[in-house]
Amino acid sequence: MAPLSSTQGDTDQVLTDKNLFVRTLVLNRPRQLNALSSQMISKLLELFLAYEEDSNVKLVIMKGNGRAFCSGGDVAAVVHDINRGNWKIGAKFFWEEYILNYVMATYSKPQVSILNGIVMGGGAGASVHGRFRIATENSVFAMPETALGLFPDVGASYFLSRFPGFFGEYVGLTGARLDGAEMLACGLATHFVPSARLSSLEAALHKLDSSDPAIISAVIDEYSLQPYLKDKSTYHRLDIINRCFSRRTIEEILSTLEREAVKSADDWIFSTIQSLQKASPTSLKISLRSIREGRVQGVGQCLIREYRMVCHVMRGEVSKDFVEGCRAILFDKDKNPKWEPSRLDQLNDSMIDQYFSRVDDEEWEDLKLPARSSYTASALAKL
């Protein structure tokens, strides 16, 4: 294998590797669990666009260095900017990240992401939109945004809403963690490969000279196995999840869960209620609405909406929970955020509506999606 060549820039945050027709991108910020910095996003976008033009590239592999694939976007940096009054720097960060998500979702060549470790938030955005996602026994997936005062973004309103039943609402609202078997079951992963076989799988992929998804899938299939869902897996609870998380509002979801809790003393229901109670009320409400809208929208439309939402979150007109959540979880680590508004009933419809409206700022504009030469069937955006 050729030595990994470093990209330009200070810390080699994205490493690239070249094997015939295959390019491998390695997220390389292991001490930050490969959290996506703005340099990394720019670099990935640049590489992805270049590979798309390059007829010598047939396949792009993405993986992470260390125990994470990618733990998310580097929101700590964004919060520093917000605290210095520069929310627009944050807006630029999300703009680029979402454009990268969109390019991946509409990519003309297959992307194989090897999710051998933590995949959270922005890490999901950098992999799930691609054609193949490989989970392993080390995979840990979560969208933890509602605990941070944010909402599942990076196109999550598109992919969460397409999970079976209302599993997406459950995952997106509670921040529940999924293992590799669960990721495969709900469609987040397309394959499950034991980590011990990853190096041989990669070697086999390196020999490919085709972009045909059927051929690539057949190669991965050779290394895949069908993992067993643990007895305690929440995926076995789809019935109760559907019953509760299909409800129209957060309040109704909670009251349905509470009714279920009365029926059966079940730790799972209790901890689910608890994680909803710990999350930012504002985050819960905007997240639910975002997932619901995403269900009937294309990925481009989802990203445009999420960009509006994230700008409102950063501006903090209705709630400053994002700053507070990051303080409590990432900086002070007291794990005791003081949400404001603190209760669901303090949030009326017009406060929620605001997150979905255009931002009232002369310089601000809606996310402009790049024209894409190829649309994949499922990513085609409509209203």
């Binding site: 209302f166 559907n242 269900r295």
Partner: protein
Amino acid sequence: MEPSLSPSPCLQYSPPELASPPSDFNLSDMRKLMDGHNLQDRDWLFGLMIQSKLFNPRFSGGRVFVSPDYNQSMEQQREMTMKRIHYLLDCGVFQEWLTGRGPEVEMRKFALHEVIGMYDHSLAVKLGVHYFLWGGAIQFFGTKRHHDKWLRDTENYVIKGCFAMTELGHGSNVRGIETVTTYDSKTGEFVINSPCESAQKYWIGGAANHATHTIVFSQLNINGKSEGVHAFIAQIRDTDGNICPNVRVADCGHKIGLNGVDNGRIWFDNVRIPRENLLNSVADVSPDGQYLSAIKDPDQRFAAFLAPLTSGRVTIATSAVYSSKMSLAIAIRYSLTRRAFSITPNQPEVLLLDYPSHQRRLLPLLAKTYAMSFAANYLKMIYVKRTPESNKTIHVVSSAFKAILTWHNMRTLQECREACGGQGLKTENRIGQMKGEYDVQSTFEGDNNILMQQVSKALLAEYIAVQKRNRPFKGLGLEHMNKSCPVIPSQLTSSTLRSSQFQTDIFCLRERDLLIRFAAEMSQLQAQGLSREYALLQSYQLAEDLGRAFSDRAILQTFLDAEAAVSSGPLKSMLSLLRSMHVLIILEEDASFLRYGYLSPDNAAGIRKEVTILCSELRPHALALVSSFGIPDAFLSPIAFNWIDANSWSSVQPQQGATVPL
């Protein structure tokens, strides 16, 4: 140019989004205007259906589509309808449908019912019978004792209701029904009887398989005197689903559509029900058998009984609009991706929607559907804000709009089916199937022709009252009759044709003139000694023209009102373009404008030309206009998207890789 030696390349699907310029109006704003209310509730319900296996999701061309499996037997379709109802019930969709009060609750109910109808008309009709007819009858004809006893259980489907009005021998003529109910003061019971075969209840939705209870419409005979039609509650099945004693039930059998609804027939063999089961808001019978009613006039009493049918007409009219939207969204998306014939050698074939003739087939129907969307929103609004004073207006407007909107829907479905060619014949592409599913709309809850006669009769009565009492017109939008007669310019320029002034004037002129003609013909016939009823029969041609004239004018008014609420900008300009198309196509197609001389032949020719120009102006916006309907992709069909992929060889092979198309 050298003749090409290379074989022509295979056809490539290119999404309509790629070729269509970005719309200059905002699609979400347009959708908000069209749907009018409860958008989040609608999207929630779309999601509930897309996410459930009960709604028969199928993968095609990398997408998921939901629609019922119409290849199932009638019995299976009926069972699926019930399962879907129970699922939606568990999700809380029907919360407050009967126990809630107020316009907001009613608008939410309408919105959700519309969305359900977009999935499957059977599902909507089955629910409509249970909630709007059975539940509505209890709400409107019943009093507190009925409300307390039945409404909550109905909302939660503890009982399943149906509505037995129509008989084999009597449909629209409800006053002629033959079922007879007498009172037995010894036991304090009513006795319901079907005295002859023609008295069997017919088409009763829910009766064949599921309903446990029914509203029975029957003549009420008290002490040998007929008091006219009254409504009763009777149980027809026990909790185990067995038919009750003295009740016979049979199936109406397989139908041309709506096979997910179990329409049945019911015979009553002296069925005894408690005295309390008379729905007594209008009239009651005392324990000792005395007939009591505050309304002495049997005509008025009967009118009071028909009030709940109004809500049925409101839902039928709106669901017709959503059906038209679905078919147009599918047919127009297909026409933006399907090509046929090259006009010059070696050039690509031409997109269907680039043919002016194809534009002329679909785009006017699109514009009319926009107009009817506003009409339906207006109808819902006056219905939920109803007062005793507005009842007459609601009756007339709902009759007119129900007829016009459902006729429009059937016409749109047929045109869209043909516009999709052979693909339109596939059930999976929905439009063809919907023709069978929606055909009933012109018949149930009032035959369209009879409804339109009622409209012209009501207008005539208004006209005569104004003449007699020498007062101005007030109500039904007839105030324009108080002004001087509008004058139509002899030269109609393009800008005149597109002005709301001209458009309003010509519709008012037609309505005014036809009403005067109708009244004159009636009085002439009556002067010759004909009875009023017989004269009405003879004047059917004018009556029909007048009914249309009233409807067209009223629909245009709803369009103008909706437009006025939008601030200037691309959205408003688009609405004005659509309005012009809507009006001009009526001027072109309705013979009355030439027949009665409201338009000269020259003007008619000018209008025909203007229609082609409007078609070409709407053409670039066609995609945006159907996208603004806000119908989720999953509710459209494979030909609305990549129909080459959906029909590829690999699509008939076992699926590889992900089962969920993320």
